[in-house]
Symmetry: C2
């Protein structure tokens, strides 16, 4: 006999996500959940973003990976507190995994917590972690058909970083079609064209993110 | 109350996979399950492979996708029978989904059935479909750290196609390190360096695949 309990599992995750959100809000933390395919460039974008923001905002990072701590080691070199979560096989982080590592941070000393999810364009988006916003990273080398094929991540994200635009001339990607499809799925989404490798567009994206962090801080101060 | 039934679900899939395998064997079909990240180039590799093999072997294709039939439409243009499976959200095909579309094919008229799985480096590998071999497609633009981060797909695959090698000079990828890590995970795996865009390496990979198909046909004839 098989018993389908997907609904129950999701609700349990949703409850823990709300508890995480409460902890984040009480500590005045702005939290982003970065999602994207393996190799979209999530960690490299994050490294470049940290280098720009590190003097303006107090950062913390949670790295999600199935088995290794390669990404956490890369982030550590940039001098920000980082904790690794290994899912041991699971294709996404869940709110409970995030909850468990929160005690490892001095949360009151952090203003922006970045959670880099497991590399996957499908599963992570279905599991809220308590974050303020979701961010999608898509490498343009993945092809311009991806938004229509994997719409949920674009529907749920507040911004999408189109990475590796330095490779545009060597691909058959139609950037207009890519942007149009993304906006069709989510008209309110912000689109940043970026090359984490050359640094192109990283400033613009980082400024936008910094404004979101400050907005939340202002709101917290008023309340 | 939550009841964990993962084990039961896997076993049920395994049972259906064995039933599929029996149908494939009875019809003398060689079946491959192609897996890889979104945008690794699975469909483009398949299109180029079909063009080479179409006169040597009778082909059929099953396209797995979450919502769209974009890939099936691309394959259809190459004049081979193709069926689309939409998972409606799930991040992988399972044996039951494949079983349901098998009756849409004239199986006795097919020698090579290609199943292109949902774009995902994690979930598909855990669900056998009844295939003879699994094939991994990894775009080199995804980075040389991917095998150690997502080892299971490389452990379970009989061959890996390293696609988009025409972009190698525009990335920081270390091909030696990439090959070494893959061989460390699976010493018996075949590695093909390919550019589906330029056609580089497609011949070599297609010849290898054709030999596998013929091997199975010979065995069937002997038994």
């Amino acid at each position: 006999m098989e018993i389908k309990v997907n609904q129950g599992i999701l609700s349990s995750n949703e409850r823990t996500a709300l508890e995480n959100k409460k902890v984040f809000d009480e500590n005045g933390l702005f939290v982003i959940n970065i999602m994207g395919s393996p190799g979209a460039g999530k960690t490299t974008v994050l490294e470049k973003t940290i280098d720009i923001l590190v003097n303006s905002v107090k950062l913390g990072v949670i790295e999600g990976d199935i088995y290794t701590s390669k990404d956490a080691q890369r982030i550590e070199k940039h001098g920000v507190p980082v904790k690794q979560i290994n899912t041991g096989g699971a294709c996404h982080l869940d709110a409970g995994m995030v909850s468990k590592v929160l005690t490892d941070f001095r949360l009151s000393e952090i203003e922006l917590l970045v959670i880099e999810n497991v590399g996957n364009l499908v599963c992570p988006v279905e599991f809220n972690l308590g974050e303020d916003i979701k961010i999608a990273v898509l490498s343009i080398t993945e092809g311009d058909d991806k938004p229509m094929k994997y719409p949920l991540i674009f529907r749920e994200s507040r911004a999408v970083i189109l990475n590796k635009v330095d490779l545009i001339d060597f691909t058959d990607v139609d950037m207009n079609s890519l942007r149009t499809d993304i906006k069709r799925i989510n008209p309110k989404i912000e689109i940043f064209e970026v090359s984490a490798r050359t640094g192109q567009g990283i400033n613009e994206w980082s400024r936008w993110l910094l404004e979101k962090v400050k907005d939340k801080n202002v709101k917290n101060a008023v309340n």
